[in-house]
């Protein structure tokens, strides 16, 4: 098992030897073990198809493991346990998932209805829902969009609405699937700023991403996935320094180019922060 926190505090998730298969032949997660303590900001790094999104869906109680076990807040997270209304409502209230594709998450006719959907299903009093929706829309600066249909929103606006739709529940754990995918730089910056500042960093945030630019800012722990297994873990700075690991897991790529003298060479290539870094050249 890979412990993801140095603090001996309460575990939010405890994942042990989890196997999840799409079909009998295709394994999405292969004997994954990790534990996440309260307040951890964890980045799950991996290329497309490495199993990051599947793990998030397992942690959100949407998929269930073929073998192994997952505990959430000390309770087993199983299909049977979520049959119980009280337990399911408590879990949904505490854990929220922001999907990679906001169009999946914005299924209501207007932004207001979208943000109100979660509290309505959890049977909050309607007056409380109205005031909380207003407060959440103000927080994410999207009050002017409240009557708008999702198909008339930009990508950045959709992402804000998707965030608002889960933040209204004031969850303890936020699961983010590729939060900066397909966003323009300004919207990416909004998402990163939000993740840095959300609740003063006191809550648990698990972010699946292959955007190495944001990892150091949004996470204080990281795991690297490859083909459904954890191949490395550690502090983001340490993982990001390991060029050979990143290249092996397709998080950075070999870059080939021609010099003015006609010589061709290749080297590992990545963009980090505002700098364009080149690792050792390999002529």
């Amino acid at each position: 098992m890979i412990p993801i926190n140095t603090q001996p505090t309460e575990l939010v998730f405890d994942v042990r030897d989890v196997v999840y298969r799409y079909t009998s032949d295709v394994i999405a997660l292969n004997r994954i073990s990790l534990s996440v303590a309260r307040g951890t900001r964890l980045a799950i790094l991996g290329a497309n198809g490495s199993g990051k999104s599947t793990l998030l869906r397992l942690l959100d109680g949407l998929y269930f493991a073929d073998s192994g076990s997952i505990s959430a807040f000390g309770q087993p997270l199983t299909e049977e346990s979520l049959q119980d209304d009280a337990l399911a409502f408590a879990f949904r209230r505490r854990v929220a998932l922001v999907f990679q594709n906001p169009d999946v998450q914005l299924f209501n006719p207007t932004v207001f209805d979208e943000v109100a959907f979660g509290p309505l299903q959890l049977r909050w009093p309607k007056d409380q829902i109205r005031s909380k929706v207003k407060e959440t829309l103000d927080l994410l600066e999207i009050s002017h969009l409240k009557d708008r249909s999702p198909h008339r929103l930009s990508g950045g606006e959709k992402k804000r609405v998707a965030l608002a739709s889960v933040l209204i529940l004031d969850p303890e754990v936020l699961l983010m699937d590729e939060p900066t995918a397909a966003l323009d730089p300004k919207s990416q910056s909004m998402v990163v700023d939000f993740l840095i500042g959300w609740s003063g960093g006191a809550k648990t945030v698990i972010t699946a991403t292959h955007d190495l630019d944001i990892v150091a800012e949004i996470a204080d722990a990281s795991v690297v996935f490859q083909a459904g297994t954890v191949v490395a873990q550690g502090e983001p700075a340490e993982v990001l320094r390991d060029t050979s690991l990143l290249e092996r897991t397709n998080l950075i790529h070999a870059h080939r180019h021609i010099h003015s003298d006609g010589a061709i060479h290749s080297h590992a290539h990545r963009h980090l922060g505002h700098e364009h870094l080149h690792a050792e050249h390999d002529h």
Binding site: A88, F89, A96, F99, P109, F117, R123, I129, V166
Partner: protein
């Protein structure tokens, strides 16, 4: 190489291809929806009323017109619909192209045989064919057409002067089950995503195509596109279901209805119901 304008053959306007026509059709569908959304926000009479009042009031007028046995009463309700349209800033041209023409063609086709086959006083005969045109047949056709035109105009006024989301919520006043309203709302929301996806698919195809497709290829393209869209919509529906579950959906849907009836809504409702009752009484 320069081409002399004198030697170049005059260019015929090329007939739009199947793909181009499909793209244009999809774009037009989205434009129409956007136009309707903008019109629903205009500062007109109907736009300012509570959606439930509009649903109940316009439905009452529609029923009165449908039950009337006096064509003048039906025409009176039609004139009222026209007045409401003008006061609600709905251009008559929009009604003419979107409602009247289509309703006339459709209903006219249905009503045409009645003119000739309804027995009664023969007013004239069709030249060459000799078919009789009866007064009763003309009357039946006129009733059918005016009733349909009036009903379609009233329905279109509701749609054009009310955001679609409010129309759906207002249906609850007619005891439409909440799950039905929610499904219609989701359909409305995702139809645009599917329209956009379809448009992207056809534009992608168009960008790689030279010349025109023959009939068999057009059928294959249409079939393949339908298949891909179906597959995408199935994938999407699965993901949307997960997103609903993630936020507490447990098989029953709860909605927030935020409408409040004000003084002018009550006055409008009384006006609609009073007019409908009068039309019903005069129409008998």
């Amino acid at each position: 190489m320069a081409i002399s304008s004198q030697t170049a053959a005059p260019r015929r306007k090329r007939r739009a291809s199947f793909v181009e026509r499909t793209i244009a059709g999809l774009a037009e569908a989205m434009e129409r929806a956007l136009y309707a959304e903008e019109l629903a926000k205009a500062n007109g009479l109907l736009q300012q009323l509570d959606p439930r009042v509009k649903v109940v009031g316009l439905l009452a007028l529609l029923v009165a017109a449908a039950l009337a046995r006096n064509i003048l009463v039906i025409l009176g309700v039609f004139a009222l619909a026209l007045a409401l349209a003008l006061l609600s800033r709905v251009p008559l041209r929009t009604l003419a192209t979107r409602v009247w023409l289509g309703a006339l063609l459709f209903t006219g086709t249905l009503a045409l045989p009645a003119i000739f086959i309804t027995p009664g006083q023969v007013l004239a005969r069709v030249p060459l064919l000799g078919w009789p045109i009866s007064a009763q047949g003309l009357s039946a056709a006129a009733y059918l057409i005016t009733r349909v035109e009036t009903a379609a105009t009233l329905s279109m006024l509701l749609i054009l002067c009310t955001p679609w989301t409010h129309v759906l919520k207002a249906l609850r006043v007619l005891r439409v089950p909440v799950v039905f309203v929610v499904i219609l709302g989701m359909t409305y929301r995702y139809i645009f995503l599917m329209l956009q996806t379809a448009q992207d698919m056809f534009e992608s195809r168009q960008s790689r195509m030279v010349g025109t497709l023959d009939a068999a290829d057009r059928r294959r393209l249409a079939g393949a596109s339908v298949g891909v869209l179906l597959s995408k919509s199935i994938q999407l529906s699965g993901d949307v279901y997960l997103a609903m579950m993630s936020r507490g959906y447990r098989g029953e849907v709860y909605t927030l209805d935020d409408f409040t009836l004000r003084g002018r809504d009550w006055a409008a409702l009384a006006g609609f119901l009073g007019t409908a009752a009068l039309a019903f009484w005069l129409g008998q």
